[in-house]
C-alpha cells in the first residue's frame, strides 16, 4: 500500500514479514514476538529493521530494542481506537525515538493532523488515495491549544496568547 509522508504519496520500501518467513536483505518490519525471540540474531543484521506493535502494546515493551529499530508501526484497528496516539507520543517523548513512526489500519483523513502532532511520520493509505483530501484535512485547523511533538510544535495557546498581548 502507498505511504503518505508530508502530505505526498510515496512508495513503501519496507516489507512486512510473517513470523515464519525468512528475513529479506532489505528493510523489514517484523512482529514484536519475533523481535523478542530473535533479538540476539537480529543484532548483527545490517538492513533496516522495523517492528509492528499491536494497539495494546505498551511502548516500554519495545524500549529495549529501540536503538536498533528504524521504524515502529502503530495500528488503529478501527477509526475510533485511539491508542496509537498515546503510543506515538510516548515513543517520542519518553523514549526519544527519532525513527519513522508509521500509522496503519483504518485511518481517515480526519486523523491526520492529530497523528502528526503526536509524532507520527507516515500513514499507510489505500491504493487510489487522493493526497489532496489528506492535506486539506491536515491544514483545516491551524490553531493548536496544546503542546505537540515534532518540528511544527506549536506552543500552547495560552502561552502564545500571552506573547500576542
Amino acid at each position: 500500500m502507498p505511504l503518505l509522508e508530508d502530505g505526498r504519496l510515496r512508495p513503501d520500501d519496507w516489507t512486512s514479514i510473517e513470523d515464519d518467513a525468512p528475513l529479506p536483505d532489505g528493510p523489514a518490519i517484523i512482529s514484536l514476538d519475533r523481535l523478542r525471540a530473535e533479538a540476539a540474531a537480529l543484532a548483527g543484521r545490517n538492513a533496516p529493521l522495523g517492528v509492528a506493535v499491536a494497539p495494546e502494546t505498551q511502548p516500554e515493551e519495545i524500549a529495549p530494542f529501540l536503538d536498533r529499530l528504524a521504524l515502529v508501526a502503530v495500528r488503529m484497528p478501527k477509526p475510533k481506537d485511539g491508542r496509537a496516539f498515546t503510543q506515538a507520543r510516548s515513543l517520542r517523548e519518553h523514549h526519544g525515538f527519532t525513527g519513522e513512526i508509521r500509522a496503519t489500519g483504518h485511518i481517515i483523513p480526519d486523523h491526520y493532523a492529530m497523528l502528526l502532532r503526536c509524532g507520527v511520520t507516515t500513514v499507510e493509505v489505500p491504493e487510489g488515495t487522493d493526497p489532496a483530501t489528506w492535506t486539506r484535512s491536515r491544514d483545516a485547523i491551524r490553531v493548536g491549544y496544546q503542546a505537540a511533538q515534532g518540528a511544527d510544535r506549536p506552543l500552547s495557546l495560552l502561552r502564545r496568547k500571552l506573547e500576542l498581548a
Binding site: Q58, F85, L115, I141, V143, Q146, S156, L158, R159, K161
Partner: protein, 555 residues
C-alpha cells in the same frame, strides 16, 4: 454580532482573534465533512464519530444539536442568540441539560453549518459536546458570587477547556470523559461521580492546588471516585491531567462499551491505577506542560469581579408571594447588598430544563438590567443570575413572573431533573419527561412543597443515567419490561460532599402507579420526620424499612 456588543461587565471568557480563527476553521472543516457525507465519500460509520465530536446526534425523531455552554457560563448576547437559533432552526424551544449545555431537538443535517455560523457570531460552538473525547467541564453555578468560595473555578475550567479542545492525543478515547471542578469546600458539582473530579483549594501560604479524584460515574455501574492526590500544585495541573488521560487512553477497555469508562479501569486496578498515573507524571517532561502563573493571571483577568457598587444588605420586600419565591430562589452573595437568583425552568407540569425563545430573550434582558449581563446554567437544569442587587429583587421577580419563570420551587420536590427519555432519545427504554410532569402536578401546591422541604427527584429514561437518578434522594429509572415502561425507585442518593449511590428499594412500578409511589414515600417521610429533618435526613435515620413497608404493604 460579536464580542463588541457584549454587555461590558459580563465575565465570560472573551474570544480573541485566534480563538475566532480556530472556530471558523473548525466550522469549515465540519461543513466539509458534512458535504463529504452527503456526497457519499464518508460512510455513516466514518462520519458518526466526526458529527458526534461536533455535538450532532441522531435521535428518535431527528438530529439533535448539543451546544456547549462552557462550564455553564453565558452572557446576555449569547443567550439571546440561542433564542434566535431556537426560533429559526428548532420549534421555538431549547432544552438545558444536566451538563450545563443546551440542545436543539429538531435539527436538520443540512442546516447545521448555518447554525454553527450563528453560534460563532457569539463565540459559541458545539465542539466536543459528544463523542469519546473530553466533554464540557462543569462547575459551580455560583462561582464568583458564593461566599464559601476559596478558589474561582472558572479560571481553571477555562484552562481545561482550552487544553482539551481538539487535544491531539485524547480525541479518540475509549469512551466519553467528563470533568467537574469546584472551588468551594461545599461540593455543588457532584465531583465524586465524574471521570475526574477536581477540588481547587489553597494551602497555608495561599497558593492554589488541586485535589484530584478519578473514576467516579453513574450509568450502569455507579461508582464513587477514588482520590488520586490531595494536592497537585497549580503549575502542574495540566501535567497531572495529561498523566491521568494517558493511562486511561492506553489501558481503558475498548471492546465492551459498558466497561469502557475510566471508572471501570480505576475500579479494576485500584491503587495500581494511582501508581501508574504517578509514574507517568514523574517521568513527563514537565516543562512542556507547566501552567505558568502569568497564563493563569491572563485567564483570570477574564473573570475579575464586575464593578459592584458598595451597598448594604437590606430586608426583603414584604409581599408574601414574593417572599415565598425569594425563600426558594435567592441565595447569599459574597458582596454586601447583592444576591444570586436561581430561575426555575421547572414550571408545574412543564418539561424540566426547557425554555422558549421568548423566555431566553426575557432572561437575557433581565440579566442585562440586573446582573451585569451574566447568566449561568445549573446542572439541575435551571438558570442563575449571579449578581443581583438586593434592592432590585422585587422588580426582577416581577419580570420573571411576566415571562412565566417565577415558579418558587428551587430545591423543592417539583425541581426535578429529567433526561429527555423516550420522547426524544434513541437510547431510551422509557419516557422520563411525562413522569416529571405528573409528579410536579401531583405536588402542585406550593405550600405543600415548602412543607415537604428540600427533596431531590431525578429521573433517567435508561441505564445511562443522564438524569443522575442514582444520586437523588428519590431516583427513578425507567426500564423496558417486555415492551412496557416500568420505573425502578432508588432512595438515599446524594451528589454533594457526602456523595452516595441510592439504594434500589424493590420491584418496579408501572407508568400509572409511579406517581402514587412517590407520594407514598413523601407521606412516609412526613409521618417519621422530626422537626428540621429533610427527606434525606429522615431516610438516613430510620433506614429503608418503613419506606419499603409503605410501598409494598399488601393492600
Amino acid at each position: 454580532m460579536n464580542a463588541l456588543t457584549y454587555p461590558p461587565h459580563a465575565r465570560t471568557y472573551r474570544y480573541d482573534e485566534i480563538d475566532r480563527e480556530f472556530l471558523q476553521e473548525r466550522i469549515a472543516e465540519f461543513r466539509g465533512q458534512i458535504e463529504r457525507r452527503l456526497a457519499g465519500e464518508l460512510t455513516e460509520d466514518e462520519f458518526k464519530p466526526l458529527r458526534l465530536m461536533n455535538g450532532l446526534y441522531l435521535q428518535l425523531h431527528a438530529y439533535m444539536l448539543r451546544v456547549a455552554i462552557p462550564y455553564g457560563l453565558l452572557n446576555s448576547a449569547q443567550l439571546r442568540q440561542l433564542g434566535r437559533i431556537a426560533r429559526r432552526w428548532d420549534r421555538g424551544f431549547g432544552h438545558f441539560t444536566t451538563r450545563q449545555n443546551i440542545q436543539f431537538n429538531w435539527t436538520k443535517l443540512e442546516d447545521v453549518p448555518a447554525m454553527l455560523e450563528a453560534l460563532a457570531e457569539v463565540d459559541m460552538h458545539a465542539i466536543q459536546t459528544s463523542g469519546n473525547c473530553i466533554r464540557n467541564t462543569t462547575t459551580d453555578e455560583y462561582a464568583g458570587a458564593t461566599p464559601d468560595e476559596v478558589v474561582d473555578p472558572r479560571v481553571y475550567a477555562e484552562i481545561l477547556r482550552q487544553w482539551s479542545t481538539l487535544h491531539p492525543e485524547f480525541t479518540w478515547l475509549p469512551r466519553k470523559f467528563k470533568i467537574a471542578i469546584t472551588g468551594s469546600p461545599n461540593d455543588r458539582v457532584a465531583a465524586q461521580v465524574h471521570d475526574v473530579g477536581v477540588l481547587a483549594k489553597r494551602n497555608e501560604r495561599g497558593e492554589v492546588g488541586f485535589e484530584i479524584h478519578a473514576g467516579g460515574g453513574l450509568g450502569r455501574t455507579p461508582i464513587i471516585a477514588r482520590k488520586l492526590r490531595d494536592w497537585v500544585p497549580e503549575a502542574e495541573f495540566l501535567a497531572y491531567m495529561e498523566a491521568v488521560l494517558r493511562v486511561y487512553n492506553a489501558l481503558g477497555q475498548r471492546e465492551n462499551i459498558y466497561k469502557a469508562r475510566i471508572k471501570i479501569l480505576v475500579r479494576d486496578l485500584g491503587d495500581e491505577f494511582t501508581q501508574m498515573v504517578e509514574r507517568e507524571y514523574e517521568r513527563m517532561p514537565r516543562d512542556r506542560y507547566r501552567l505558568d502563573p502569568e497564563i493563569v493571571a491572563a485567564i483570570g483577568a477574564h473573570f475579575a469581579p464586575p464593578p459592584f457598587a458598595s451597598l448594604e444588605d437590606q430586608a426583603l420586600h414584604a409581599d408574601p408571594e414574593f417572599r415565598q419565591w425569594a425563600s426558594a430562589s435567592v441565595r447569599a452573595h459574597r458582596q454586601p447588598g447583592y444576591a444570586s437568583v436561581t430561575i426555575s425552568l421547572k414550571p408545574i407540569g412543564g418539561i424540566p430544563g426547557d425554555a422558549s425563545a421568548d423566555q431566553m430573550e426575557a432572561v437575557a434582558d433581565l440579566a442585562e438590567r440586573h446582573s451585569f449581563g451574566e447568566i449561568r446554567v445549573t446542572h439541575v437544569q435551571n438558570l442563575v443570575l449571579p449578581h443581583v442587587r438586593q434592592e432590585d429583587l422585587y422588580a426582577l421577580w416581577g419580570g420573571l413572573r411576566a415571562a412565566g419563570l417565577a415558579t418558587p420551587n428551587i430545591g423543592l420536590i417539583s425541581d426535578i431533573i429529567a433526561c429527555p427519555g423516550m420522547d426524544y432519545c434513541a437510547l431510551a427504554t422509557a419516557r422520563s419527561i411525562p413522569i416529571a410532569q405528573r409528579i410536579s402536578e401531583r405536588f402542585a401546591s406550593l405550600d405543600r412543597q415548602h412543607d415537604i422541604g428540600e427533596c431531590f427527584i431525578n429521573i433517567s429514561g435508561c441505564i445511562n443515567a443522564c438524569g443522575h437518578h442514582h444520586v437523588a434522594h428519590i431516583g427513578i429509572l425507567g426500564v423496558d419490561k417486555r415492551g412496557e415502561e416500568v420505573y425502578q425507585v432508588t432512595l438515599g442518593g446524594s451528589a454533594t460532599n457526602d456523595a452516595a449511590i441510592g439504594e434500589l428499594i424493590g420491584p418496579a412500578f408501572s407508568y400509572d402507579t409511579i406517581v402514587d409511589a412517590v407520594e407514598t414515600l413523601i407521606t412516609t417521610y412526613i409521618a417519621h420526620r422530626v422537626p428540621g429533618e429533610r427527606f434525606i435526613d429522615t431516610y438516613r435515620r430510620v433506614g429503608v424499612t418503613p419506606f419499603k413497608d409503605a410501598l409494598y404493604a399488601p393492600a
